[in-house]
Amino acid sequence: MSSKSGLSWLGIVPFLLFALLFLLLPTMNIVVGAFRNQAGAFTLENITNLFQPSILSAYWISIRISVASALLGCLIGFAMAAAMVLGGVPGWVRGPLLTFSGVASNFAGVPLAFAFLATLGRLGLVTVLLREWLGVNIYAWGFNILSFWGLTLTYLFFQIPLMILIITPALDGLRREWKEAASILGASNAQYWYLVALPILWPSLLGTFALLFANAFGAVATAYALTGSSLSIVPIMLFAQIRGDVLQDPHLGYAMAFGMIVITGVANLIYIGMRMRSERWMR
């Protein structure tokens, strides 16, 4: 057995080869393409070309939707998870809520868009009921499902459950002793949260926010099925570019994809880093 140990790395060669061919090389190809011109020479022109109004506004609206849906997802998900773990509600709430969160956090893409069109579209259930029962026409008020708030509201359907799934173990990890120790030392409830619980939860909260941000930023199918190409966000613009070179500059397309990798990459690094920090308290 020991005679083979020099060659034992051969056991993971199939996996490494697969990862190289179908994950690393394709990504590298795009990244390298972003820094090359048509003739194949190195250039930064593609990156600077990203700073034109139409592309900048696509990035800006993408970032705004991702921040809004991640922030609201974190707040509402935290409120629901805290209500479940610390709110003194009966124990039977927990199982179904966590199971539902597992389902809903995976219920994204095309069908999710259909569900929200059937609910908040012009003929959707909620739109019609609000109009018939309360005389409120939300479309006359300027609401549109094919807009910033429409998309944010739709994304929340998978953002909130994801937050619940990730933050529940962190809330479970808050020990009763910490609370007791704080109150023996004379801390009020608010002081306990402000000085003990939140500093412990902070890495989890920040990390999950970053994860939800990346999650929303990379979502293509939901947005495409919901808005077609009427809302210019980065993933939809890139989708159209891959299909038919709408920017009329392939290398600008690579630069756009590169920008996407940078943004989701940074967000995910924050998530992974914060997760490692928060795991210190979970033992």
Binding site: S5, G87, F100, V110, G218, G228, P235, I242
Partner: protein, 263 residues
């Protein structure tokens, strides 16, 4: 104390209303196809559409293929890393997390560039090659979930002792993997497999950009052209996701029972 419970219920009920409304709305909308009364017409139209059968069948096959390839790739690797190459663990883990970092649309963009008809490996040149490329793409998407599930399953095993015991009885590597390791991580594999199924069955971006007739692009097409059928499709898709998650719960519970019995 009482005040806190009130707020807790309030938060939960408001949240549940938000989640229930789209589901009720979709269900209601899907039944509205016939004027003036509720009917199952939308479902009848969808279920009798030959494109529904073709695309759904294609995606089911793709999902099953992804699961098989994922297991073949992940189980031996995770086992080998635990047994012999613990130093490689961070590298492998990093690689399996990458598909969560790099958006799928970028990966498939790379495929189209790297494996087009004028490249060294012209996979997109033929139908079979493109299907294979789609299968590889789905396997990449499933990698984080599959690896995490299998690695967690392996953690509860004493891999080294099991291997030595099998070897002393004369088993080769294939036998060890197939008859010792695989049965022991079966529950982990199953939960990874159901999650993979739920992800692949409705996947849109890869299939659309590689131009394959999968269920995701079919749903999108119906959504762009019809009124009531999309809602019926959403109900069906939600039921499939629910079924997959339910099966995961079921197999995990089953494992807990067997573990207790073993003790």
């Amino acid at each position: 104390m009482r005040g806190r419970r009130l707020w807790a219920w309030l938060a939960l009920i408001l949240g549940m209303i938000y989640f229930a409304l789209p589901l009720i709305g979709t269900l209601e909308f899907s039944l509205r196809m016939r004027r003036g009364e509720y009917s199952l017409d939308a479902y009848r139209v969808i279920l009798s559409d030959p494109h529904f059968h073709a695309t759904f069948g294609f995606s089911v096959l793709m999902a099953l293929g992804t699961i098989v390839l994922g297991v073949l790739l992940v189980v031996p690797t995770a086992y080998w890393v635990r047994l012999r190459l613990p130093r490689w663990r961070p590298v492998i883990e990093f690689l399996t997390l990458l598909p969560l970092v790099i958006p799928p649309i970028v990966v498939v963009f790379g495929y189209i560039r790297l494996y087009n008809t004028s490249s060294w490996l012209p996979l997109t040149g033929s139908v079979g090659g493109t299907n294979l490329l789609l299968l590889f793409g789905y396997t990449v998407l499933a990698l984080p979930y599959m690896y995490r599930a299998v690695d967690t399953g392996l953690r509860s095993l004493d891999v080294a002792t099991l291997t030595e015991a099998a070897q002393s009885l004369g088993a080769g590597w294939i036998t060890i993997l197939w008859r010792v390791i695989l049965p022991n991580v079966l529950v982990a594999i199953l939960s990874g497999a159901f999650l993979t199924f739920a992800i692949v069955i409705g996947e849109f971006v890869l299939a659309a950009l590689l131009n394959r007739p999968a269920f995701g692009p079919f749903m999108q097409l119906i959504g762009a052209n019809r009124a009531y059928e999309p809602a019926a499709l959403a109900v069906i898709a939600f039921a499939i996701t629910w079924l997959c998650m339910g099966l995961i719960q079921l197999v995990t519970r089953f494992q807990k029972h067997t573990q207790i019995r073993q003790r």
